[in-house]
């Protein structure tokens, strides 16, 4: 399957600053999922977006699926140290097979 690129690869922010990671595909995706992986941990599902232009919020996290369904973003408002980890986007193709993006590692310092 195609590769889904995420930018940036790494970001270091001060606690309280905002953070955004972008997920880009060259072709239309049927859906996009977001996962968070804490250091030393395993990926944990955050959300799935399906509709063009869809926006969903979870407390300080805002997820968006582009109008063309080729890109997505995850925005965190006022980061906290508990937000540290790697954020992956992923999409399901045939047979629910998940293809993961390259990931964005977030570091938050006081």
């Amino acid at each position: 399957g195609q590769q889904v690129m995420q930018i940036p690869q790494y970001q270091h922010v001060q606690e309280g600053e905002d953070f955004t990671t972008y997920c880009n595909s060259s072709t239309t995706l049927s859906n996009i999922q977001w996962y968070k992986q804490r250091p030393g941990g395993h990926p944990v599902f955050l959300i799935q977006l399906v509709k063009s232009g869809e926006v969903k919020k979870q407390k300080r996290l805002t997820f968006q699926f582009g109008e063309a369904k080729k890109n997505s973003s995850l925005h965190i408002t006022a980061t906290q140290t508990t937000d540290v980890g790697t954020y992956f986007c992923a999409y399901t193709g045939t047979a629910s097979k998940l293809t993961f993006g390259t990931g964005t590692r977030l570091q938050v310092t006081l």
């Binding site: 990926p43 599902f45 629910s96 097979k97 993961f100």
Partner: protein, 114 residues
């Protein structure tokens, strides 16, 4: 209920030895996946089982890798004649195919080949 479990949590083996990694999916989950994650890298799909259908083996990197799923539940990933480049965390995930789309991941097995 219990989540996805994997064993062992850590495995150190010598180059050339065979290893078996085990995954116990969530009860009732009909789909099971294996992924590999090298240090600081993303997740690489290895193999997918769905019910009694033939598994999707398209992600297995070589014929040294194989996997079984017995009785539609427990799965074993076997790596024969291990190489140093096989060192990685091997993650298993399960879901209820046709229903919930969320994949539930196990804690992984960290394999180190010396």
């Amino acid at each position: 209920g219990a989540g996805v479990s994997q064993s062992p949590s850590n495995k150190v083996t010598e180059k050339g030895k065979d290893v078996e990694l085990r995954c116990d999916p969530i009860s009732g989950h009909t789909a099971l996946y294996w992924y590999r994650q090298s240090l600081g890298q993303g997740l690489e799909f290895l193999i997918y089982f769905q019910g009694n259908s033939a598994p999707d083996k398209s992600g297995l990197p070589s014929d040294r890798f194989s996997a079984e799923r017995t009785g539609g539940s427990v799965s074993t990933l076997t790596i024969q004649r291990t190489q140093q480049e096989d060192s990685a965390v091997y993650l298993c995930a399960s879901l209820v195919a046709g229903g919930d789309y969320e994949q539930y991941f196990g804690p992984g097995t960290r394999l180190t080949v010396t």
